[in-house]
């Protein structure tokens, strides 16, 4: 077990360097001069532009910029934004907000997937199964931003049931609406996976044996069927956790949530290299960690899986 974890962590190191290098290169290769962009339609005086360039190491060749960034990164200095804030401060401010939103969305997604998938699987071909399929098709064919705008307009503006935007009020309650909309647009895959594996489990030998032993339906469904059907759903949920954290830009824009999606978007439009690279690096690290955790979770769920 320990060696397995160690091996996975060691594998993460080249991933870390690979991504930071790639991201740094991509932002560097982005056409256009970020300093010129700072001045809008006006042409900056060359001397002023040069001074700014030197301040952000933009006058150095690419490899030097990367090495300087890496040096700073490992000495705990994540760089400074154009507005003079520490990138680490920005991260510390924005990250918890996004984490909260995505956690809530993922928990809702998981509950929806498991509950609806389980019932559909148990009542395959019945009324509930058909209804849940139709609802799923409708929800998954609506683009996320359309669902967001519709929910915002009706729930927030028309009926006044939830805050229209989040802004300063990043409580669980204020972010429930966006989290719920995210969950509703992504739960479908998990739900169908759950349904499929429930149908499969019901025909498995151990379930038939359990019935033959005289166990009740009440015991077999959660312990024998549901638990053994969870693996694909958990993998799917974990994958969507990573994807959602990286993909909150649209949600955060519509609901004005001050999370990493919004900061990252602004940093990209301004070519703020330190912010972009730091954020993407952190996202990569999270992605890797979540995947390791999920692999470990398999062993808990399925006694047949052992890591050596």
């Amino acid at each position: 077990m320990l060696t397995y974890i160690l091996r996975r962590v060691l594998q993460a190191i080249p991933v870390f360097f690979g991504t930071t290098f790639l991201i740094y290169f991509m932002v560097f290769a982005m056409p256009g001069d970020p300093i010129a962009g700072l001045f809008g339609d006006k042409t900056p005086n060359p001397a002023v532009a040069d001074a700014l360039r030197a301040q952000f190491n933009l006058d150095q060749p690419f490899i030097m910029q990367y090495l300087l960034y890496m040096k700073d990164f490992f000495t705990g200095n994540l760089g400074v934004t154009f507005s003079g804030q520490q990138v680490s401060d920005v991260l510390a401010r924005a990250f918890p907000v996004t984490l909260k939103l995505v956690l809530m969305a993922v928990v809702l997604e998981f509950i929806l997937s498991v509950v609806i998938g389980l019932i559909s699987g148990l009542r395959k071909g019945k009324f509930f199964d058909n209804i849940s399929l139709v609802v799923a098709l409708v929800l998954s064919s609506v683009p996320v931003f359309v669902a967001m705008f519709v929910a915002q307009y009706f729930v927030g503006i028309k009926w006044g049931l939830a805050p229209v935007t989040v802004g300063a009020d990043t409580t669980w309650g204020a972010m429930f609406l966006p989290a719920a909309v995210i969950a509703l647009t992504v739960y479908v895959t998990g739900m169908r996976l759950m349904r499929g594996s429930v149908i499969e489990s019901r025909q498995a030998d151990y379930v038939r044996t359990a019935y033959a032993k005289g166990l009740t339906h009440k015991r077999i469904v959660p312990v024998h069927i549901a638990r053994n059907s969870l693996i694909p759903v958990i993998t799917n949920t974990a994958a969507s956790f990573g994807a959602l954290i990286a993909g909150t830009t649209v949600t955060e824009g519509i609901f004005n949530i001050p999370g990493i999606g919004q900061v990252l978007y602004q940093a990209i439009t301004q070519s703020e290299v330190p912010t972009v690279v730091t954020f993407v690096t952190i996202l990569t690290v999270i992605y890797v960690i979540v995947n390791i955790l999920v692999d470990l979770l398999y062993a808990v769920l399925d006694p047949r899986i052992r890591y050596v």
């Binding site: 982005m30 042409t43 927030g156 935007t165 001050p258």
Partner: protein
């Protein structure tokens, strides 16, 4: 049978979906507080008279000379008082200045009002201005707005040098000596770059930029009033004695990443005033808001520039072709159809909100749609040297310009029968780099937002020989001479006469083809009164009342 089942299923699906949505939100209702109460709590000013408006996270530290974008500018204008301020019509009035006296067109004597203080108790004296301007101008400080000081004696972009033109006479008086005539210098002094700074700022400018201390109508509500990427809370400054006395209890500027979110909040009454309408709502916002919708010209001039060196656009032939292109563009139709009336067709090179604007300059008919004349002029130019190839307008694709560029090109194509197309650059940065390097070999879009409400600001920086933003390298000695005469005039009215004459030369040469003035589109919530937008498209927040 089958059909009925499907219909039933569909109905049930809709019911389930709406139940789920409704269920989600009603459970949410109890534990979420409307965000407006969050903003007003924690302070003595919780009387409900705090105006909430939209803004964006400042891109620079909140130092007046470091800021050159509206997100930070809006906050600075509320927190600082300069020598003059601009009213709703763009006219300048003394704010902190007792008097600004023109000794001659290059020297001014400025007296400031006595007993003014910063919110930390420091007095506002002559050196508060002189030191702040010197800080902003110093090359090694690399301030974004340093160019505002380039007309003051001693200024240098290349090396650190003191502004020798500034002399403190006594506590409340200082003299300004300029290195060239500028009759509109007093008019510029309301811009944020000219705000004073307290002495404590210079001890630690980084700390000051995070927690600025001003002398204006509003001040920070507390040490944590600026919640980065979220909002900034301002309360009224009891020590401010100037004319911009707030009629409300405070101002909360909420940072929005998208205009859609701000507009949604306005519809729900969670924000009081906004100064932008998302493109998606431009067709409906006037119906949504009724007389609370705002649509008026702003001090933003849009054009496309044809470089002077571009083949077929030089000399006499170029002049004919430029005029032909200008007359081939149906500005009325494009502003109407593409922009839903949120642009105003241009009739000069400045803006209607600026004193001295005119729609009846000699030669302004070149800006009217006139296909017959356009074809005639184009044919005359073809007689000198036949046209070949495609006429292109370069633009940045990240700014929503594609629709009007296509419309303008279609208008040109249909009128003149030549090939015309857009030349998109993926990002604004890349676009400006090519423009600045002069590597661009097509016409390109240009826009200008004025820094202060004066005609010269629309002309000098853009079309004077070798001027900083003269991206098309236009040069005309007569034009330069008229500008100079305006700069040395004794009063604004005389100066404006010369600036108008100068524009009549531009209307013949057309270094840039004027298109339209951008409008400011905004709106305010029910129960909000006295909303007036200033010349710079920012509402005059201090006048607004609520409830």
């Amino acid at each position: 049978m089958k059909v009925r089942k499907a219909v039933l299923a569909g109905l049930a699906a809709t019911a389930v979906a709406s139940l789920v949505l409704a269920g989600c939100s009603s459970s949410d209702d109890t534990d979420s507080t409307p965000s407006s109460s969050a903003a007003t709590s924690g302070d003595a000013m919780a009387s409900g008279g705090v105006i909430r408006t939209n803004g964006s996270e400042p891109e620079n530290p909140l130092i007046p000379t470091a800021t050159n974008e509206t997100g930070g500018g809006k906050i600075l204008d509320a927190m600082f008082a300069g020598l003059v301020y601009y009213d709703g019509t763009g006219a300048a009035h003394n704010d902190l200045a007792e008097s600004i006296t023109q000794v001659d067109p290059t020297s001014y004597e400025i007296k400031i009002k006595p007993d003014q203080t910063f919110t930390n108790g420091e007095p506002v004296v002559a050196s508060s201005f002189v030191d702040a301007w010197n800080y902003g101008a110093l090359a090694s400080n690399a301030q974004n707005s340093s160019y505002f000081f380039e007309d003051i004696e001693g200024f240098s972009y290349e090396e650190d040098s003191e502004l020798t033109g500034l002399t403190v006479v006594d506590d409340l008086t200082f003299d300004v000596k300029l290195n060239k005539e500028a009759s509109d210098f007093p008019l510029r002094l309301g811009y944020s770059a000219f705000y004073p700074l307290p002495a404590s700022a210079f001890e630690d400018m980084d700390a000051f930029g995070a927690n600025p201390v001003g002398n204006g109508p509003y001040m920070l509500a507390g040490p944590d009033a600026w919640q980065h990427d979220v909002q900034i809370e301002l309360v009224t400054n009891p020590d401010y004695t100037g004319e911009r006395q707030p009629a409300n209890d405070g101002l909360t500027i909420v940072f929005y990443a998208t205009q859609d979110a701000a507009y949604a909040d306005l519809l729900a009454g969670q924000v009081d005033v906004i100064d932008g309408i998302p493109d998606s709502s431009l067709q409906t916002y006037e119906a949504d808001l009724g007389d609370r919708a705002v649509n008026q010209p702003a001090a933003i001039f849009q054009s496309f520039t044809i470089p002077q060196s571009l083949a077929h656009f030089e000399g006499e032939e170029g002049k004919l072709r430029r005029q032909a292109l200008s007359m081939a563009i149906n500005r009325d139709e494009i502003t109407d159809v593409i922009f839903n009336g949120t642009r105003t067709p241009a009739s000069d090179f400045t803006s209607p909100v600026i004193d001295g604007w005119s729609d009846s300059l000699d030669g302004a008919e070149v800006l009217a749609y006139n296909p017959d004349e356009a074809v005639k002029l184009w044919a005359e130019a073809d007689a000198m040297s036949p046209w070949e190839g495609t006429f292109q307008i370069a633009y940045n694709a990240d700014g929503g310009h594609d629709a009007w560029v296509d419309a303008v090109n279609n208008s040109i194509k249909n009128t003149l029968g030549i090939e015309a197309s857009g030349n998109p650059y993926p990002t604004f940065g890349e676009f400006r780099t090519d423009v600045t390097d002069r590597t661009i070999d097509t016409a390109f879009r240009t826009g200008w937002q004025a820094d202060y409400p004066g005609l010269f600001n629309f002309l000098g920086p853009l079309y004077a020989t070798n001027a900083g933003s003269n991206d098309g390298d236009y040069s005309n000695a007569d034009f330069d001479a008229l500008l100079q005469q305006g700069n040395t005039a004794a009063d604004a009215a005389t100066a404006n006469g010369f600036y108008q004459d100068a524009q009549e030369i531009l209307l013949q040469d057309l270094p840039a083809i004027p298109l339209w003035y951008s409008n400011v589109n905004g709106g305010y919530a029910e129960g909000v009164n006295n909303v007036q937008f200033g010349w710079n498209s920012v509402p005059l927040y201090y006048e607004i009342t609520k409830g």
